[in-house]
Amino acid sequence: MKAEFAFIALPVSALIAPSAFAVRYLTVDQAQQAIFPSKSFTAAPVKLTSSQRKAIEQASGLRVLHDEQQVWRVSGDSWFIVDEVVGKHEFITYAVGLNADGSVKQIEIMDYRETYGGQIRDQKWRAQFVGKTSKSPLKLDNDIKNISGATLSCRHITDGVKRLLAFYEIALKH
């Protein structure tokens, strides 16, 4: 097939936008099926005690921002966890599947949001994402689909997974 390549004229407004960028990849159900196809899931949310929280922070060297962790027990003794990380400009929800031995099976990004102007740590700004489903997609410059240019680091996810592995050791493993 003949390759095609063309530059596109951008309207002036596009040069200023986007101040925010969001993609929804997977809902919780979809993420469960993506990591553990045809398994059954039982919700088993965990509320951490303050001593568990301290133990996780000590073991991982990372701060625990929420006492509650969304956890599902997967048939076959595996675990499915939904977690979120906040960077300087990113707010990412992701899912981790843990094998029965506590090793990481798979990581899937569920929601990726990027914003500029310091709103990300603002509780109100974050609250607008709570309870969103795939039927109410975020309308933050969703015209933009593919981005080249910046190699964004996934360090926050790496840290998040490290924290979840400590969480598994302290709060899930029996």
Partner: protein, 303 residues
């Protein structure tokens, strides 16, 4: 003819130190799911083989043992090394995988414990028979400038094999669009990351971008970037971003580094690879270089 509905799946995983996004379309959900899983596995495998930081990777094994002994590497690593050496030859050393020492000195890569030869280059890297690699001097290679492009190409191969009819693989900005449909790719502004500096429409084409983004460091009081000219050891300063479109992502990835250092003097090489480039300067308008045979009806400027 009535066409069956096309299914589209879009996934993203943290790999290669960045976010790898795969979107694929096809007729069969199960096939697409398998293809996407296989594509991510390919990227993971490239990561395992070619990570500079993982002590078990081929790259770490070479950096430890290819001098004074030799090391057998995976055929994929071999293929990347072979391509890297080809670009080193063709660019007369502007592209050089043996400059890890410079990057380490400037804080982009961790320092290594061995004493390294200060003047070692790609010419000291030997690809022997049966995937065996030998370094003539104590040196370190870093495949960071090319392995990501290779990973994208491998992922596209896996998707096509599974029956995906079109899609895109985007590994933190290095990407490849395949199949019948074209895709618009926006270029993030290098120094103003919330802004878009330009957009291109691609079909059956790969694009890689290298630039001075968030990865800027101070070295001896000056701002420098990890873009280093292999011959002079100098960082490029005026240009802030180079995007190259080519038929495969590995070539596009390597060519961005060469255009960064050579600019117009890379025109011959760009023509040989039928590649196009978009250059952004700190305070200038975007400019681009087309290979001679390129048929681009829309050469609109962004200004």
């Amino acid at each position: 003819m009535k066409s069956h509905s096309n299914i589209e799946i879009r996934r993203c995983r943290p790999l290669l130190g960045t976010f790898v996004e795969i979107e694929a379309s096809g007729r069969n959900v199960a096939g697409l799911e398998r293809g996407i899983a296989a594509a991510f596995s390919s990227v993971e495998k490239v990561h395992r083989l070619m990570s500079y930081h993982d002590p078990r990777s081929d790259v770490s094994r070479m950096n430890r043992d290819a001098f004074p002994n030799s090391v057998i590497v995976h055929p994929w690593t071999w293929k990347v090394l072979e391509t890297a050496q080809q670009f080193a030859r063709e660019s007369n050393g502007v592209f050089d995988i043996a400059i890890a020492r410079l990057l380490a000195d400037r804080g982009y890569l961790p320092q290594c414990s061995h004493r390294l030869s200060g003047t070692a280059t790609w010419r000291d890297v030997f690809l022997l028979k049966n995937y065996r690699v030998f370094f003539r001097r104590r040196l370190m290679v870093d495949l960071g400038g090319i392995a990501k492009g290779f990973a994208v190409d491998q992922a596209v191969g896996a998707l096509k094999e599974s029956g995906a009819t079109s899609g895109i693989v985007n590994a933190g900005g290095d990407l490849c669009v395949f199949g019948s449909r074209s895709q618009v790719v926006h270029l993030r502004h290098p120094s103003r990351p919330s802004q878009v500096a330009g957009a291109v429409r691609l079909r059956e084409r790969a694009m890689a971008t290298s630039g001075i983004y968030f990865a800027r460091c101070k070295y001896r009081g000056r701002n420098i970037s990890p873009m280093i000219d292999g011959r002079t050891g100098r960082s490029s300063r005026e240009l802030i971003s180079v995007s190259v479109a080519a038929s495969d992502c590995m070539s596009a990835d390597a060519l961005t580094k060469i255009v960064f250092a050579l600019r117009e003097r890379a025109a011959g090489l760009m023509a040989r690879y039928q590649a196009d480039a978009l250059l952004l300067e700190r305070n200038g308008a975007p400019s681009w270089m087309f290979h001679s045979s390129c048929d681009t009806p829309d050469r609109t400027r962004f200004d």
